[in-house]
Structure formats: structure tokens, C-alpha cells
């Protein structure tokens, strides 16, 4: 067998083995280049996997040579491939800048193990996305969650510990709910392989146990996904975590929760069961829209930029939840595309915050005064990514909102479409507040601020350019999302 056939295993195994090797290196200065190399290799593997999926269709890889449903198999269809690309791409873009960021924002004691924990978190997220086994998904969920709690706690602000503890409690409840749901399905079907589960569940419609399992997984994934009203852990966790960690999580962690939701609703339980029997649309659409409004409204009143971005994430996750709940082809495309696009925009915005914190030590509204002149490139990135967040044409934000509105109209829910446009207008307010302070206020004379160093600026620029690039050339995102929707059995 050639190496190409083993790429699914290597996708997870490379960051997995890089993590303990980083721990053995003892010094962050040695571990950093190694971690960067590992994340780039991981990204290269996900690009190769995407290429394989697009040319040959779904890939199945049997771990340890045990064929499914007995063994654990890794299954990669267009949906997994796109998410793998997002998660590993974000890691590859953000990891080089981490060396500068952790010097400022991570407590000295924690710096030594930072890269180990970051790589473990990456391993967990990739594992959740790639696996075709429900229990394996739970195990990877725990790997990524436990390392996420540790990463949040590494913030130098003392409140980081409390935020991490809250995150731990709520994250554990979410993971436990998912485990209870998987356990109930296992009890009814006797299998843990997702494809096998899906087959056997078609005969079990109407079973109260399966309905309970669905409810548990929906709530559990909802907590992990920070879906309104289960979003309480997120604002503090993102505010007090080191900015680069916030950038990585904002771009990936909640997206993985969205993946779990899509995979279980459309694939394992099946759209017919979820929508006709459980009426999941009546849960996801109202809560999603409520989240979009509450998140945007709260974001408007925040003084700290990181907290503002965290609440804006609550709003954006609301769109994804509503899109999943629409249950038609365009809606599902909107959900998948927005997961990807929001990752790009939120990653860029959090990296801008990281640049500002590196130079000024904080990122509240007053510290942005005059930054348009002092840090022109950084603030330029903020404006572009911010426009994308609002949904201006030729940015990625427009593409996902366009499909979301198409999906709402296709489902004959025009009030939903109107509410989506209205809540998008709210995001103009919170983005404009920052732009106004940065460009129309004079910089304070006593503080000398220069442009952020290239190590952080280049990743920020890359993500910003991608916000435009994927807004103009939508073949990869929308094309793959369309294939993914087809493979999940949702046709136009």
C-alpha cells in the first residue's frame, strides 16, 4: 500500500505524535518550529484528502485492519473533507504567530506545555470530524475538550481560570449528554458504526428510546456548539483565553459542534426522522434566530473587543443553527458554507485583536483610538473582515447569507429571511463602533504604537485575503457544500 492510502490515519496520527514530542522538548523555542511543521504537514494531508474525495468519492479507512462495523473506520466524504481543511488550515495559519503571542498572553509556567496542548486540541478536533464511529467521536470530543479547557486556563488574566472552570462544567455536561445519546442508540441498535447505526435506525422510528437519544445528542451538541441559550460558557472563555487561542477556537471549536449536529441529524438519525418525527426545525430555527438577535444586541454594548467578537459568534452560530433547521438543499449549503466562512472571518478578527494586544496590552474601545493611522494594515484587515461579518457582496459573509435567505424562501419562510436581514443590520453597528474609534479619533500622544510584527500580521492578512477570495470564487466552498448536501441525502 502506498502512503496515499494511509492519509486518513496520518491526518490524526501526525499531530497526535507531535504533541508528546513537543512536551519532551522542554523549551518553547524548540517546540515552536516543530509544532509549526506538524501543523503544516497536517494541513497538506487535508488538502490531499480533499483532492482524493473530489476525484474518487468517499474514502473509508479501517483502523487496525478491522472492517466495519466491528472495527473503527474513518470515513471521509465532502462534508468531513471541508471541515478537515478548515480545522487544519486554521492551525497551519495561526501556529506560526503563536510564538510571539504566548510570550505576552500566556503565564510563564504554562508556556512550556502550550504547544503540546494546542496540538492535542487539534488532534481531537480532526478526530471528531474524520471518524465514522460514534463512540470514537466521543473519545476525540473529550481529547479536544480537555485540552481546550487547559488552553483557556493558560490566559495570563486571573479570570481565565474561572472562565476555564465554567467551560469545563458546561462542556462536560454537553459531552455527557452526547455520550448518553450514543449509549441509548447503542442499546437500541447494538452498533457504534455511524453508517450501520443509520441503517438500523430506519426500522426504529417511533421508539421513545431513539427519540430520547436524539434529544440528548441535540442538546449535548448544542452546548458544545454554543447555541443560544446554551452559549453561556463562550463569552468568558474567549475573552480571557490567549487571543491566538480565541482565534483558533473561534474559527474551529464551535464549527466542530456544528459538524456533530449536521452529521447526527442528517446522516445517523436521518432527515426524515429528525424533521417529520422530531420536528427539529421548530427547535433550531426559533433558537437560531433568537441567538442571532441576542448575540448581536449584546455585542453592541461590549467594551472589550474579544468579548464583542465572542457575542458576535453567538449570533453567527444562530445563523448556522437556523440553516441546519431549514432542512432543504440551500439551507444545508448555507449551514456548511457559513461554518467555513465564519471560521475565516472570526479567525481574522481575533488575529487583529491579537495584534492589538501584542502592541497595546489590551483591546478595549479606548485603546483603539487612532489605530487606523498607527496600525494601518491591521485595521485594514479588521475593516475587510468586519464587512464580511456584515455580509457585504464580494465577501464570504455575503455568500453564506445569500444561501441562507434562498433556503428560507425555498422553505416558504419569508419572515425568517426578513429576520436574518434585520439581524445582519445589527452587526453593522458593532463593527462600525470599532471603525469609528480607530479612524475618526486622534491617537493619544503619549503612547507610541507601531504596526504589528510580520509573524502575526501575515497570518491576519492571509485570512483577510481568503475572506475576499472565497467570496468571489465560491467553487470550493459552495461546490463542496453542495456535494456534501447531496451525500447527506438532501437534494435540490
Amino acid at each position: 500500500m502506498s502512503i496515499v492510502e494511509h492519509l486518513p490515519a496520518l491526518q490524526v496520527a501526525v499531530p497526535l505524535i507531535a504533541a508528546p514530542l513537543c512536551a519532551m522538548m522542554l523549551r518553547p523555542s524548540i517546540a515552536w518550529p516543530f509544532a509549526v511543521l506538524a501543523s503544516w504537514i497536517t494541513f497538506a494531508i487535508s488538502v490531499a484528502l480533499m483532492d482524493q474525495v473530489l476525484s474518487h468519492g468517499t474514502i473509508t479507512y479501517n483502523m487496525g485492519g478491522w472492517s466495519p462495523p466491528w472495527g473503527i473506520s474513518y470515513v471521509i466524504d465532502p462534508l468531513n473533507a471541508l471541515l478537515l481543511l478548515l480545522v487544519s488550515g486554521m492551525a497551519a495559519i495561526i501556529m506560526p504567530g503563536v510564538r510571539l503571542g504566548i510570550g505576552v498572553e500566556v503565564t510563564f509556567r504554562a508556556q512550556r506545555l502550550f504547544f503540546t496542548v494546542a496540538l492535542l486540541s487539534l488532534t481531537g478536533m480532526l478526530g471528531i470530524v474524520i471518524t465514522g464511529d460514534a463512540f470514537n467521536l466521543y473519545v476525540f470530543l473529550e481529547i479536544s475538550s480537555l485540552s481546550s479547557y487547559a488552553l483557556v486556563a493558560m490566559g495570563s488574566d486571573r479570570r481565565a481560570s474561572k472562565a476555564a472552570f465554567n467551560y469545563l462544567i458546561q462542556g462536560t455536561i454537553g459531552a455527557t449528554f452526547i455520550l448518553i445519546g450514543i449509549g441509548l442508540v447503542y442499546m437500541m441498535t447494538g452498533t457504534l458504526n455511524m453508517a450501520d447505526m443509520a441503517n438500523r435506525l430506519t426500522d426504529l422510528h417511533g421508539s421513545a428510546t431513539v427519540q430520547a437519544a436524539f434529544a440528548f445528542i441535540l442538546v449535548g451538541a448544542g452546548i458544545k456548539f454554543a447555541m443560544f441559550p446554551a452559549h453561556a460558557w463562550m463569552p468568558n472563555a474567549y475573552t480571557y483565553a490567549p487571543s491566538l487561542v480565541s482565534a483558533f477556537f473561534g474559527a474551529t471549536a464551535t464549527k466542530v459542534g456544528a459538524y456533530i449536529l449536521i452529521r447526527f441529524i442528517y446522516d445517523v438519525f436521518g432527515a426524515e426522522f429528525a424533521f417529520d418525527e422530531m420536528h427539529v426545525g421548530w427547535v433550531l430555527i426559533p433558537l437560531g434566530l433568537a441567538g442571532a438577535f441576542v448575540g448581536s444586541l449584546v455585542a453592541i454594548w461590549q467594551d472589550d473587543l474579544k468579548r464583542m467578537l465572542a457575542y458576535s459568534s453567538v449570533a453567527q452560530i444562530g445563523y448556522v443553527a437556523a440553516a441546519i433547521g431549514l432542512g432543504n438543499h440551500d439551507g444545508l449549503i448555507a449551514a456548511i458554507v457559513h461554518v467555513f466562512n465564519h471560521g475565516l472571518m472570526k479567525g481574522a478578527l481575533f488575529l487583529v485583536t491579537a495584534c492589538v494586544i501584542l502592541r497595546l496590552g489590551r483591546a478595549d474601545m479606548t485603546s483603539f483610538r487612532g489605530l487606523g493611522k498607527r496600525m494601518p494594515v491591521t485595521m485594514g484587515c479588521f475593516v475587510v473582515a468586519g464587512l464580511s461579518m456584515i455580509g457585504v457582496p464580494f465577501t464570504v459573509g455575503f455568500i453564506s447569507k445569500w444561501y441562507l435567505i434562498l433556503g428560507a424562501l425555498d422553505a416558504d419562510m419569508w419572515p425568517v429571511a426578513v429576520l436574518i436581514v434585520m439581524s445582519s443590520l445589527l452587526s453593522i453597528i458593532y463593527i462600525w463602533r470599532v471603525v469609528e474609534v480607530a479612524y475618526f479619533n486622534d491617537p493619544p500622544d503619549d503612547v507610541k504604537v507601531t504596526e504589528a510584527p510580520a509573524m502575526l500580521l501575515v497570518p491576519t492578512l492571509i485570512l483577510t485575503v481568503l475572506c475576499i477570495a472565497f467570496g468571489v470564487a465560491t467553487k470550493i466552498t459552495v461546490g463542496v457544500a453542495g456535494l456534501a448536501a447531496n451525500s447527506l441525502g438532501v437534494y435540490p
Binding site: A13, M63, G64, G65
Partner: protein, 140 residues
């Protein structure tokens, strides 16, 4: 607690046997009850007893935190290496059967022993490290 003669003598006598028993549970895991996790826990209790009786400071001198970090990492590296070696030998990831080209059953046996050894080393390291971290803070 080292001022109590009986506690001191008995724990000193017991510690080697606890370590030996841990190795027995480790290696006997594929024939009887046991395995890497259980063995790691038993191995760690030997150091925890030592720390309780003679103080955490002396225990850390026996088992410094850098050694513990190395143990935690080494176990995981050992586990993953079995996967990579089986890849190189022509099987899929973690396919122990590929480890021995002549006799796949022997390969399976070898694979699970190394995997469990990795688990044992990591569990012993993690449990000792958790105990030391909390106990050290409490002493300050």
C-alpha cells in the same frame, strides 16, 4: 508521617512488592485480569505511599517532574510508534498483525504488549504528576 516507626518500616518493605506487582499486572494483562491502566495505577501508588510517609519533597527528588513529563510523553509516543511501525510494515494504522511478517498472531501479541506498556507508563506518570501537583500546593 515518617516519625511512626511501623508505618516507615512497613511502607519501605511494601514499596518494592507494589512495584513488582504492577509489573506483573502489566505483563500478565493478556492472559488474566490486568493491563496497562491498572498496572499504571498500581505503579503510581508506590510513589504516592512514599510521598505520604516521607513527604512530597523527598518523593519529588526520587521522581522529578521532568522525569514525569518524559514518562507521560514516552507512553504516548510508544503507542503511536506501534501505529507507524505497522504502517511501515505494510498494514493499516495500528494493524498489529503486520508487525510479524511470518506469523500475524505473534504480531498481534507483540503489538498489544507494547501498546499496553505505553498505556502503563503514561498512566503511572499522569497519576503521580496529579498527586504531586496537588500535594505540593497543599504543603506551601
Amino acid at each position: 508521617m515518617s516519625e511512626h516507626l511501623i508505618v516507615r518500616v512497613v511502607s519501605k518493605m511494601l514499596i518494592p512488592f507494589i512495584l513488582l506487582f504492577a509489573l506483573y499486572v502489566q505483563m500478565h494483562g493478556d492472559y488474566g485480569p490486568g493491563g496497562g491502566f491498572q498496572a499504571g495505577v498500581i505503579f503510581a501508588t508506590a510513589f504516592i505511599i512514599y510521598a505520604i510517609v516521607f513527604g512530597v519533597k523527598r518523593a519529588i527528588r526520587v521522581m522529578p517532574l521532568t522525569v514525569l513529563t518524559a514518562m507521560v510523553s514516552l507512553g504516548l509516543v510508544l503507542y503511536a510508534m506501534v501505529g507507524f511501525v505497522s504502517l511501515a510494515a505494510g498494514g493499516t494504522f495500528l494493524d498489529y498483525g503486520a508487525l510479524d511478517s511470518h506469523d500475524p498472531v505473534h504480531g498481534q501479541h507483540l503489538g498489544i504488549i507494547i501498546i499496553e506498556l505505553g498505556v502503563g507508563i503514561t498512566v503511572a506518570g499522569v497519576l503521580t504528576a496529579i498527586f504531586f501537583t496537588f500535594a505540593e500546593r497543599w504543603q506551601k
